[in-house]
Amino acid sequence: MAHFEDRDASQKFQGRLSTASVIMLIAFFILVLRFFWLGVVQNSYYTTRAEDNRLTLVPVVPNRGLIFDRNGVLMATNTSAYTLEIVPGRVGPIDQTIEELSKVVTIEGKDKRRFKQLLREAKTFESIPIRSRLAEEEVARFAAQRYRFPGVEVRARLFRSYPLGETASHALGYMGRINTKDLERIDEEGQAANYRGTDHIGKAGLEQRYEFEMHGVSGFESVEVDAGGRGIRVLSRTPPVSGNNLNLTIDAKLQQVAETAFGKRRGALVAIDPENGEILALVSMPTYDPNLFVDGIRSDDWDVLNTDINKPLLNRAIYGAYPPGSTFKPFMALGALATGKRTPQQAISDPGYFNLGNHTFRDDKKGGHGMVNMYTSIVHSCDTYYYTLANDWGINGIADFMGQMGFGSKTGIDIDGESRGILPSEAWKQRRFKRPEQQKWYAGETISIGIGQGYNSYTMMQLAQATAILANNGVGYKPHLVRSISDVRSGGVREIPLEKTHEVALKPEHIEVIKNAMIGVNKEGTGTKAFAGAKYVAAGKTGTAQVFSLNGGNYSHGGTKEFLRDHALFIAFAPADKPKIALAVIVENAGFGATSAAPITRQVFDYYLQGIVPKGPAPDEPGEPVPELRDMANYVDHQDDDYDAQKVLNTPTPGPFVRMPASTQALPVRKKP
């Protein structure tokens, strides 16, 4: 064995060992420096990083504000329901899990489809509902088998619910999942942080317009999570603040009465308190059940609503623009008085037609009404009187006065989707059309304007507003659905201030003439039958609006014939001496003004003024007009519209809910059934 005798070798080895020691010392020193850098110099940065890892702020969604009617009847609330939810990141193969789950609770194809869609949009650690509104029995069945389904949970969630179902759905609107467009709106309102936990938002009606009033302020929970995103415990909690409640101007019971009065008929009704612009009822028929939308409408339900030939989702009351027909006449008469074009006593001799150049505009009554003054022209709805009036007055004068009454401009009701309608004038035609020959206003076009036809096209909202202005002697308020907003926490109530929007300079004696004539309509004119035996005095005016074939594309179903029948209209207010309610109503394709629309009005007034609840829908189902009523209508009010005039002028009447295309050439051609 070679022992270490050699001092050189020994010293060399020692040298190497010391070199190694120094290197190792330096290495350890570098390590310590590194620890110092991380743990002391960068400590606060890494502490933050560790906290970010550990803590997640989980938003707590506030309770959405409730909606009450004017008498405190609950119209929209939140109910808790059980949902079955899957956290995709925590379950195995999702299809297999769903397959297994469907043996425990009912899961239909549509549930799966909706789940798949939500899955695409969600993050893997988010909990996604596969079934909502589980029955107690299903919850119990799942609970027993829960151990088999890690990552699947039953949760109690709050859902919007509408206790009155279909009642006032067009006013209330509905809720839906937040989409990209909603996110933009939320961002614009600076509410992004507040909506972090919210996944539903108002999509229409009041739910949409008052979204940010009703949403409330989200709370937050600071939750400790592990690397897998599982919550370990809640460290702190900032409670949410419930949204504000809406107190509506709508009378839910009145609304129900009005909806019931329509029966199966299509149409719209707007009832206003003329003294303050409060909307008492906003009806669009048929209606729909907003509860269907609450947790993402199922596609089949959507299909039914969306393809329904009756278009239940359409808010006819504010979006549907119709020619007002003879309901326009009282306003024409009022304007004639106000501008001095006519006096009440001034009478014309009605031969049954009116000639302009070589065009003949016929009255509905063959041989004419004889001598007609203002009163009789309204009571018997004499067309010739208004042909001559329109001709004398001129289109721009008419447009000026009707504009003051609110025609042709949005009323400013507090829900979205209101259309402006069309108030025809020379200026309007210039704007509307491109080619010079189309832009010119022809004198002949003015004539049918006088009887509410021609280019005239207004919403029931506008018509009701104009009626309310008349009823309130020329003063109109901005129509609104929300009377006040109450803050649940503070208990404070914020009244929505009244906004006077119209003040038409009218002489009381002129208003008196028109009101008298409208009372006459219900006493000895076209509304007599409907208001027979009423315990109050109601002023009204019937109207019939011709349906032109604009909507052929939509209506080319088997019901074409029905869909081409005229619309029945009625405007009214009561009691006539001190009006509490003013309304406008249209029944689509009902045929003749007095037969359908007036009886609905009668039921609404009877309930509102006397508390009489009708036993069923107002008489006269569409297609089955009561014979004697039809005869009467034939006699006094049939064919307000002058078909010949229409043909000669080649100016199709804008039908409901179809906006005028830029050029008449582009109008869809009516399809032959």
Partner: protein, 367 residues
């Protein structure tokens, strides 16, 4: 008639071969290891009891090895090295592939990892070589040493197991270094290594390249291999000066640290005990190394001092590479933190090394 065992004699016979300074430091490290393994695993699969068994077995093995005289170890050096080499070749041919790496050999009832044997066999063989070929001409001497060094290292690196390859290579290299390899050669080899590095880069596996890349910029792959480094540096950094307290590290307890009871256990420790704990740990390793170097310095034969020096520097390599990678200054390679990380194999290898050190120290006087 007294058939009672002479306990005092028995204890003396064993304890005489224990180097108590080394033993005390090791016990402190193992105690810290047990505590940390418990903290890292109590909420899931509890590992402390089995680690306690591993430690007991490893310490027993250490006692046994400590009784083997160095002369006997010298005799075992070549058989062990060749045995290990054959097994490595068998691994290359018939090894079991787990997670893309061929490291294990199936014996039917169990699996063995021959590269572990090399961690001990390499310094033994290399020390034997220089002991016997001390006076050869330097070229033939170092050429032979290079072969002994490179063949098994390359086989292990090829498996691939970069961590073990580094440990095996460094164990052999330390012997060569301590045996007095000229600084010129060391300098030349370093220069050559730097020169071929770009070519060697291409021989690295994708995942190995990635680990080096993520070292440079961990955020480049923050959910892949960078995740390990990011989370462990957060743990160390957020531990601050005094740490978050035992079993109170959020990074560890909430499972943000991967492999927290094995290779990344240092992050768990550092988060709980902070800068102070880290420095104490480094000092403990420093004492362990100091004791080992002292044993090496006092050793009486070339074999003994080369072997002791290499094993001691091996401990350093373990500790430095592990803490370096966990704190983000070295690439992530599979090297456990000595005496702390969970795992029986590493403990057995480390304690065998300790036993050899004790053997060298305790057989010096009664030679």
């Amino acid at each position: 008639m007294s058939r009672s065992i002479n306990w005092r004699g028995f204890v003396h016979a064993w304890s005489v071969h224990i180097d108590f300074p080394l033993f005390r430091i090791t016990m402190l490290l193992m105690a810290g290891g047990l505590l940390t393994v418990f903290s890292a695993t109590w909420s899931g699969q509890e590992r402390m009891p089995s680690q306690l068994l591993n430690m007991a077995a490893a310490v027993c093995l250490m006692f046994v090895v400590a009784r083997i005289p160095p002369q006997r170890l010298m005799q075992l050096a070549w058989p062990m090295y060749l045995f290990g080499l054959v097994l490595l070749i068998l691994v290359m041919l018939f090894g079991i592939k787990v997670n893309g790496a061929k490291r294990w050999l199936s014996l039917g009832f169990t699996r063995i990892q021959p590269s572990e044997i090399m961690k001990i066999a390499m310094p033994l063989a290399m020390a034997w070589y220089f002991h016997h070929f001390e006076n050869r001409r330097w070229f033939s001497k170092y050429f032979g040493a290079l072969m002994i060094l490179l063949v098994p290292s390359a086989l292990i690196a090829k498996q691939p197991d970069l961590g073990t390859a580094i440990l095996v290579f460094s164990a052999g290299f330390y012997v060569i270094f301590l045996a007095g390899l000229s600084w010129w050669v060391i300098g030349g080899l370093t220069g050559a290594a730097v020169a071929v590095a770009p070519f060697a880069w291409n021989f690295l596996h994708d995942y190995q390249q990635k680990r080096i890349l993520t070292l440079i910029d961990p955020t480049s792959d923050s959910l892949g291999s960078g995740y390990h480094i990011i989370q462990s540096t957060i743990a160390i950094g957020s531990g601050g000066v005094i740490g978050k307290g035992y079993m109170s590290g959020t990074q560890a307890q909430l499972e943000f640290i991967p492999e927290k009871h094995t290779d990344f256990i240092f992050a768990v420790f550092a988060e709980e005990w902070g800068m102070i704990g880290n420095v104490i740990l480094v000092i403990l390793y420093g004492f362990l190394i100091e004791r080992g170097l002292r044993i090496s310095l006092r050793a009486s034969t070339t074999f003994n001092r080369l072997l002791a020096g290499s094993i001691t520097m091996g401990f350093f390599t373990y500790a430095f590479v592990n803490m370096g990678m966990v704190s983000g200054i070295l690439p992530v390679v599979g090297v456990p933190l000595p005496f702390i990380s969970y795992g029986g194999t590493a403990l057995v290898t480390l304690c065998t090394g300790l036993g050899i050190l004790m053997s060298i120290e305790t057989h010096r006087t009664n030679r």
